[in-house]
Symmetry: C2
């Protein structure tokens, strides 16, 4: 160490504070307040460094809001304001920064970067620009942001040489953390905006440990929390030492603050000169042991919390505090109602039971029972007169008999229209109740059970809904046994020749989430004709999915931002095996069998 | 010239064929047939080179279809098949290619490139990988594709040294065309997939001329045609000489073939060695004069054709041949009906007039007159019984009086549900009739006038619809004068405090299409309070736009893929001027006034 920097004593630990803030897109003023509060707290904790999440000042993701100059200007002003309030604790603030316009890998210039600003002693003392911009799955960062060009930037914070990386920077195995450690960083400070999916928390822990071990430096990984459209940021911030051992893990799904002594890597020979944030070297002292981490929830509980937080924040951030939904007596609306009750409070949820003449009494009874168990208000609307009038109204065009499918979809859409009227009159958000199995194969009725502003369970397959319901019931009566015991009805509809959910859901998982091809799915033990039919339905339902409301992403690849497919799409994964390529004499493409049903 | 390559005679011209093919996403088999037909034709024309559009073999854009290995394999097989059929004419085929997995600017490896394969004499003799991958506006190419690494690649085709660039490669001013010309290219062959918007055709001509002049080489720019979801590819392929003079411009909006002698740039000193496609040097001969170009349509006619082609192809490619739509007697449904009649034939369009008790008789009369003038079938459905039943059904929850807005939206949604039933029973596509002005400010009723599989005029502001109607009428009776003379009703609704369309539409254009900020719009002469109100409505309506059906993009920045905004978004462009940044004592963000109405 003395070879590298003989003038400064060697601190053995850095006192690091982390603030796992709520992520609120566009709310620069509110974010500014939340950051200032955290800065005051960290000064009180005598922290050397406070690390905040990625884009803490602006919210994440910004999408094309980043293209609006007045927004960028506002973020820059707010950062100056924050800097004025900074003191002895160096604060690493995630924000956006204006940079010299530069081309990426296309002809367009970009003039904004994702940044981590280092504030200290009343000033912005340094700024790091994110180097790796994720552009896959739900991420679009290369669309609007200029990539940083200083992956090996180092920052001298008192006696410590630190590296700052941002989220994706960490994931390549050969990126800024590696460059910074090789250049002399003793600790990596990493702001993140990392959305939840099943298994993500464990993946993050493994990643942070691997980066720490590979580079021999501790890693402070701070994530944000809260629902933003289809994404839920689940926090679970992580601190690992230079051997990859977990020092602390913050709670998931809620704002949190933590402060601990992080044992630093031994000083290393420096390549390049660190930018000086400040030169005050603290007293030499041994690190205190870290505080105890809160318990980690199991995976089903994580999913449940994601649904609750995503639903709560979408509702509140769009100006509502209460919700309405249709109660069919089935599992979909039951789980949606339970999520809504947990998210908004049972007193803010209104369930409407809307029986048709053909609706079994037990379904209305189950809906009433559900409402009672959840403690939510419920009403019954008799649909019979409406349906009679609708069918009669169509008589002049269609005659007096509709196919069963059209009639059922008409009923669902009449319910949707009435639910929206109720929601609008009461100033509430309508929650749609469609699930992922239905959305996959096109059996969710667009403008019917998919009517609404938010669809909490749209990424939950039917089989998972039963698991979630039982999980939630273990915590207190929520979803009546009678609902759980009743067999699902949708796939009995004769117009869809579908396998049971126990077979459908794993096929969807393999095709959609894992990106597997038909042959691989068949090889895993599924019937060829079944796979063929299901894949065809999945491909054809893109049309309906495009108009579905957003809902909470809980899987590694949800429909929506995560999986972008053309609507008009002649590709059929099975076509190649049956038709010779240059065979058809008329030069036309593959036939598409049925027009899209909305 | 003799300094550079003394062994070969100097051809003065290259005989270039272009095939402006239909762009059909995923239809590898059909595309293969179309390409083979063009190859046979070009051989018959004794062309030296045949240039096809970008991704001619796979269709454009592919979105996440490019991630499916079975799709990539199928494209590779098809290319081999095409190569087997190639002869003396070198064919430049746009397709995808498997490449060694490589990282872009994030942690993800990509293993597919956008390519132009050079086929000759039964083989794939060369392959160029697109270097610049557009990742802005509607384009997402960096998401799934690996960038090419040989911007200065050259190809010897007989006695000619050619450069091949693909679409975006052309637009940077310092990209592959510049590298290729500097390395010795005498001609640039450029496959494209360039979607239409107003003014685009002229922009492309200016671009091709600028590239040619800057580099002193002729440019052969071949575009595809046809509608793909919200995009319409309008063809209009261009050939310019080395001084930028237009030699030929192909028709817009329809498949076309052309063949002409392109005068080559004088041979230049070569940097690097061109890949040899073939070494047969043709006889020295002077170029023949180019064929006459078809006449160029004016801008309104281009917009009309885009609407027609987009509607036609979306309908056909999703398996329908006929359409249904609601006819209100107003301009929106009138223009939509006229577009549908031109797109599908009047015999394949059914208009349904659905009067409420409050509907003026003149509107039903206008709808009937429109149907007669267009030659489409029409029916009348009396909505009174349905509406009575709906309002009565809501009585138990809401009491017997609804606000005027909720009641009107309920009517619109009941119409939407019935129209969908008609469309589904008849196996037709339902066309939604909402326009851009309404979609901007949230006055288009989701699941009501926005119900349907496709919304042809969703990117057309109201003021443009009148221009389009008069333009279409000049070609033959289509939209009755009575419809054009009736004042628009939507913005009279008292719950929306909006300016007339003559003021609203330019504000939307400045804010949405041009990305202008509030102060700039006010400075252009608009009332501050009006601008403030309109911008707020535009921002709040993101929620509704997200669920709107796709429609034809005709402006430089449409809603949809073009403009990606968060739904939950606290940003208010006017907030900064009225509220001090770190002022509010409670730390909460800006209030959001109203819950979203679907």
């Amino acid at each position: 160490m003395t070879e590298t920097d003989p003038t400064s004593p060697r601190p053995e630990a850095l006192r690091v504070a982390g603030a796992q803030l709520e992520n609120v897109v566009g709310d620069i003023q509110g974010n500014c307040h939340r950051i200032l509060d955290a800065m005051r707290w960290a000064e009180g904790e005598r922290a050397d460094v406070l690390v905040l999440p990625e884009l803490a000042l602006t919210g994440y993701p910004l999408d094309d809001l980043a293209l609006r100059p007045e927004f960028v200007d506002s973020a820059l002003s707010a950062l100056s304001e924050l800097a004025r309030h900074s003191g002895r604790t160096t604060t690493v603030v995630g924000t956006i920064d204006a940079v010299r316009p530069r081309r990426g890998r296309d002809s367009r210039r970009r003039a904004v970067s994702i940044a981590a600003a280092l504030l200290s002693d009343g000033e912005v003392r340094g700024i790091y620009h994110k180097v790796l911009l994720p552009n896959y799955e739900v991420f679009d960062e290369a669309r609007n942001f200029a990539a940083g060009r200083r992956p090996s930037a180092l920052w001298r914070i008192g006696g410590t040489v630190a590296g700052v990386s941002i989220c994706e920077d960490l994931w390549s195995g050969d990126g800024p953390p590696e460059a910074q450690a090789a250049s002399g960083a003793q600790v990596l400070l990493v702001p993140n905006a990392s959305p939840f999916h099943r298994g993500k928390a464990e993946g993050r822990r493994a990643l942070a440990a691997a980066v720490a071990r590979r580079n021999g430096v501790p890693v402070v990984y701070v994530n944000c929390v809260g629902g933003q459209d289809e994404l839920v940021f689940d926090g679970g911030s992580i601190v690992v030492d230079g051997d990859g051992n977990l020092l602390f893990r913050a709670a998931q799904f809620e704002p949190a603050r933590f402060c601990l002594d992080v044992p630093l890597a031994r000083p290393r020979p420096l390549r390049g000169r660190p930018d000086v944030v400040h030169a005050r070297v603290g007293a030499l002292r041994a690190p205190e042991p870290p505080p105890a981490s809160p318990p980690q929830a199991g995976e089903l509980e994580q999913v449940w919390q994601a649904l609750v937080v995503g639903t709560r924040d979408f509702t509140h951030r769009n100006g509502a505090s209460a919700a309405v939904l249709g109660l069919s007596g089935g599992i979909d609306s039951a789980v949606t109602a339970a999520v809504a009750a947990d998210a908004l409070g049972p007193e803010n949820v209104l369930g409407i039971s809307m029986p048709s003449p053909g609706t079994p009494d037990v379904e209305v009874a189950n809906a009433r029972r559900l409402a009672a168990d959840l403690g939510i208000a419920s009403e019954i609307v008799d649909m019979a007169p409406v349906l009679t009038a609708l069918v009669a109204g169509l008589d002049s065009v269609l005659g007096d008999s509709l196919t069963e499918r059209t009639e059922e979809e008409l009923h669902a859409r009449a319910r949707g229209a009435m639910l929206l009227a109720i929601a609008d009159e009461l100033g509430r958000l309508l929650l749609a109740t469609g699930n992922k199995s239905e959305l996959s194969v096109g059996s969710a009725v667009l403008y019917g059970d998919m009517a609404g502003g938010f669809a909490p369970i749209r990424d939950c397959p039917k089989t998972l809904l039963y698991e979630l319901a039982r999980h939630r019931n273990a915590r207190g009566r929520a979803i009546p046994e009678a609902v759980l015991e009743r067999p699902p009805t949708a796939l009995n509809q004769e117009w869809l020749d579908l396998p049971p959910y126990e077979i459908l859901d794993p096929i969807v998982e393999r095709y959609v989430e894992e990106g597997g091809g038909p042959e691989g799915i068949i090889a895993a033990g599924f019937d060829r004709a079944t796979v063929r039919g299901v894949l065809q339905l999945i491909d054809d339902a893109e049309f309906e999915r495009r108009q579905a409301p957003p809902g909470v992403k809980i899987t590694a690849r949800a429909f929506g931002k995560d999986r972008r497919m053309p609507i008009a799409n002649s590709w059929r994964p099975f076509a190649a095996e049956e038709e010779e390529l240059v065979a058809s004499p008329d030069g036309t493409g593959a036939a598409i069998p049925t027009p899209p049903r909305a």
